[in-house]
């Protein structure tokens, strides 16, 4: 066992983990953060995407011990303190950017990461930005629309006009 200290969605945790524990399993099984899901065994689907020190990563492809000393944000930590949805969550809801919803946590975390780097992406840039996330239901059209809507709303917000 190796002891780790992490901050997850704003709270601090100290735990002993086996080195082979994947970050996604630590989040789900030790911390109960089951909003982050596992969709594959091959690092392809992106359903497990979280932010590790501010960067989107596939939490099934990081060992929990590697996150020692880091700040992690999951899908459960992006809404406002009053429960208000994050603009990207809101846009997925409004634009119907999901069907079964399994890919959605990862899609949203990848999209937030993309919009941080590129606040007004073109449609192609959105498709490339979420290329690490697979959706078996929607055909992606409404996901792209949701990211476009969120980009508009978020840049409007930083520009000070609604």
């Amino acid at each position: 066992m190796t002891s780790i200290n992490v901050r997850v969605d704003g709270a601090s945790y100290s735990d002993d983990v086996e080195p082979r524990t994947l970050l996604v399993h630590y989040l789900r099984e030790t911390l109960g953060k089951v909003g982050t899901v596992v969709g594959c065994d091959t690092s392809n689907c992106g359903a497990c995407t979280v932010h590790l020190d501010g960067e989107a990563v596939k939490s099934c492809t990081v060992f929990a011990v590697q996150a020692d000393g880091s700040e992690i944000t999951t899908i459960e930590g992006i809404a406002g303190g009053d429960g208000a949805l994050h603009p990207v969550q809101k846009a997925f809801h409004e634009m119907h950017g999901l069907q079964c919803g399994y890919c959605t946590p990862g899609m949203i975390m990848a999209s937030i990461d993309l919009l941080k780097e590129n606040p007004s992406p073109s449609e192609t840039e959105i498709r490339e930005g979420i290329e690490g996330n697979l959706c078996r239901c929607t055909g992606y059209q409404n996901i792209v629309r949701a990211v476009q809507q969120a980009a508009g709303e978020m840049s409007g917000a930083t520009g000070g006009q609604a």
Partner: protein, 285 residues
Amino acid sequence: MIPAPFAYERPTTVDEALQAIAAGGEDVKILAGGQSLIPVMRLRLAAPETVVDLTRVTELRGVREEGDVLVIGAMTTHHDVITDPLIAQHAPLIAEATETVADRQVRHRGTFGGALAHADPAGDLPAVALALDAEFVLAGPNGRRTVGASDFFVDYLTTALEEGELLVEIRVPKLTGSWGVRYEKFNRVAQAWSIVAVAAAVRRENGHIAEARIGLTNMGPTPLRARATEAALAGAAVTAEAIADAARSAAEGTSPSSDLNAQADYREHLAQVLTRRAVSAAAGL
């Protein structure tokens, strides 16, 4: 699946890492970005006794200049490579190829050195390193040695790295003069590996091609140079015909495999087409 149990070491210097590797037992694996190793461990195709994690070895991260050479630390992530100003200025071919690697999540973790040490024939960066005549600095229990790219890639997933050795940095000669570059990658879907790809760097002088360097991805167990095409292009006019003629020999001396994605003869065809496109773009056509 969950990987088999292993002992975990997290050194902070190259010397500590070498000691951890030496003390790690029979089957030691070096962990860089983990984007190839962890999937393989999850499938239990690898079950090392000890994993030596280089993430905290900060001396292995970053890009610096040493005269005519760009020195890229093995642990520099794909994302850092793409956004690095020195690479953009002196080795833009590396940035262009790295942008085609995987997806943004994988590029945040995966490293330049890890991709080269892994030496997957479908990996995008080995052919680029070969085309740019990069040199590899390896550290081992008996000190450091430098190996040229053509000697570093030995076989399928096999490099000149000996047991107990570590890839420390990659030295890339800067392109000086009027070079153009292009990475042409052919794959079918998002985040997919190359079926074939071509890395081209072309230097123009007085309206002619003075020198062309062409690296081929996935045209054999190791990356290859398209030597016949390079020779045909030296001194050639910058015309579509001259480049198309030269590109016809791009698959000479290659030994591509047949697999789910393509038959060998189709790969030979792709090598010619992609070489024509890459050289044309690099030559400014």
